[in-house]
């Protein structure tokens, strides 16, 4: 078993991981930048090591200082959390070479699923539907035009190594292709040091639905149902829910089975997610996230499984120990992300409490939100019988939530939750702009 874990992250996810460590009797070691001396994860962990100045590149991305801190503080394992080094194959490799356990899939898996072209190849072999597109890298604007005319406009061109909307271009007509291809290759090269480009048919306003998986690398794979993450602002998820209102039982089953089949083929070890686009009742593979995700509590709520605990157990070499049939996925879960719009000192923080509500946050009265990092301030998760009551309970929770000292997107979340379109359950990824009439 693992006795001591270094958490190579900050904010709410570091706090979240420390809690599961406590629950398992595992010692937790936090790392922090000079800007995070008073951060909650530093206060809560059993030990904490300063690893650099405020800039992430010099601290939370400083793999050498992080690994040295883990070795020097007697840890057996490193949990990378989300973001930062969580999908960095080189880091996973370095951690392993330092004689530590990397809590996540192995470097080869991270590398494979991180390469969009490679991932598509594996997905195709597993017989999983994906949007029509280029079979591999596209070399020239000419080739791009030829493939686009085969699959039909609009198309989207993407960086093979990309993510987060960078190096992505929607092309509506043939005459736009040359310029779009040139810009996208350039962006891909400058952001990801890899100019490789591929193309897919562009689905207008699909739903973004993903399947949460646990896989022990020894053949046992289960899913914890799906999460619908269609409510996004500039490709940033705002609200996540499970089950998705876009799927019926048969569609859900097909999608989850496809995801499980892919993870079996990958010999995946750990927690991971398969993201799909859902369009007119059909699902199309988008990508694999080889890590735990921000919205994982939604799946924890409906399944009763602690995903962080499972990550740790699997990394320690344990068998999953249960089958899909033994899982009891029930009710409806909804998560709202509360993002800070300004950094600042928190003069008062009152979280919502009571039945059916969970709060994951690094905020506390007298704490602060740093200008250096991600604006995610708190996640509010509710678990109820059905979608209608879940939305009511989330409204109750958000009304109880009070954060003084910074401004947040709480009012925006209330607007979405009370909107007719969100309550209808019928919308696409354009829901945010439809509500706010951009």
């Amino acid at each position: 078993m693992i006795g001591s874990i270094l958490i190579a992250n900050r904010g709410e996810i570091a706090v979240r991981i420390i809690r599961s460590c406590r629950d398992m009797g595992i010692r937790s070691v936090a790392v922090y930048s000079e800007a995070d001396r008073d951060s909650l994860h530093v206060k809560m962990a059993d030990a904490a090591v300063c690893i650099g100045p405020p800039a992430s590149a010099d601290s939370y991305l400083n793999t050498q200082n992080i690994i040295a801190a883990a070795c020097g503080s007697g840890c057996d394992a490193i949990h990378p959390g989300v973001g930062f080094l969580s999908e960095n194959a080189q880091f996973a490799e370095d951690v392993t070479q330092a004689g530590l356990i990397f809590i996540g899939p192995d470097a080869a898996t991270i590398r494979l699923v991180g390469d969009k072209v490679e991932a598509r190849r594996t997905v195709k072999e597993a017989g999983i539907p994906f949007t029509p597109g280029s079979p591999g890298p596209i070399e020239s604007p000419q080739e791009a035009r030829r493939i686009a005319s085969e699959i039909g406009y609009p198309v989207i061109i993407k960086a093979a190594a990309g993510g987060g909307g960078r190096g992505m271009r929607i092309v509506e007509r043939e005459e736009e292709m040359e310029e779009a291809f040139t810009i996208a290759s350039h962006e891909a090269l400058s952001f990801f040091s890899n100019g490789t480009i591929y193309m897919e048919k562009y689905l207008r306003n699909p739903r973004h639905v993903e399947v949460q998986l646990l896989s022990d690398g020894k053949g046992a794979v289960v899913h914890l149902g799906e999460r619908d993450c269609s409510v996004q602002k500039n490709h940033q998820k705002l609200i996540e829910e499970s089950p998705s209102s876009a799927l019926n039982t048969a569609q859900r089953e097909r999608m989850c089975k496809d995801a499980v089949r892919l993870f079996k083929r990958l010999h995946y070890s750990g927690a991971g997610t398969v993201e799909f686009l859902v369009y007119e009742g059909k699902h199309y593979f988008m990508e694999v996230n080889a890590r735990v995700q921000v919205e994982h509590p939604v799946s924890e709520a409906v399944s009763g499984i602690d995903i962080i605990k499972e990550q740790i157990r699997i990394a320690a070499g344990e068998h999953l120990g249960y089958t899909q049939k033994q899982l009891h996925i029930s009710g409806y879960a909804l998560e709202c992300r509360i993002n800070a719009r300004t950094p600042g000192k928190i003069s008062l923080f009152i979280p919502p409490l009571g039945p059916a509500v969970r709060v994951d946050t690094h905020l506390y009265t007298e704490g602060s939100v740093s200008p250096y990092y991600d604006p995610l301030a708190a996640k509010i998760i509710v678990h109820t019988d059905d979608r209608a009551s879940g939305i009511k309970t989330m409204l109750r929770a958000l009304q109880e939530l009070e954060i003084r000292g910074i401004t947040t997107n709480k009012d925006e979340q209330l607007t979405i939750l009370t909107s007719k379109i969100f309550n209808s359950g019928t919308y696409g990824t354009d829901i945010y702009s439809r509500i706010f009439q951009e």
Binding site: V49, C50, A55, D58, Q64, N65, I67, A68, A69, G72
Partner: protein, 148 residues
Amino acid sequence: MTIEYIRSLIEVFESSSLTELHLNDEGQEITLKREKEIQVLSAPVHSAPPAPQPIPAAGDAAPFTQEADTIIIPSPIVGTFYRTPAPDSPPFVEVGDTVKAGDALCIIEAMKMMNRLEAEFPCEIVAIHANHGDLVEYDGALIEVRRI
């Protein structure tokens, strides 16, 4: 001028960004001063320059100068602090020693690499703030010296 008055004055002063306040109220005089940043020798609050990447020859790490007459040399990286070049060797330096620029002060081990930290200028060793074998943090206090 009562204690309460002075307490209030200090509170107002502390909640401001002032560093000095002088008051002469019909013959009653008071002066308040404070440092912009409190100087804590054993736990420096000044930022050292960001640790260069990859880890440089340890001597590259610029120790920062304090306004007091001693200087704390901070750790440029996270690692294990060693006072000796090898298990059985004597320490590089002891308190009271004087060293010249380029002399070795200690070793910080990280990623199985031994990083030698060297003096940048001639100095006297005033104190050693880490124990042999300790994990030292980024910017953690290592050795306190006085420039000579």
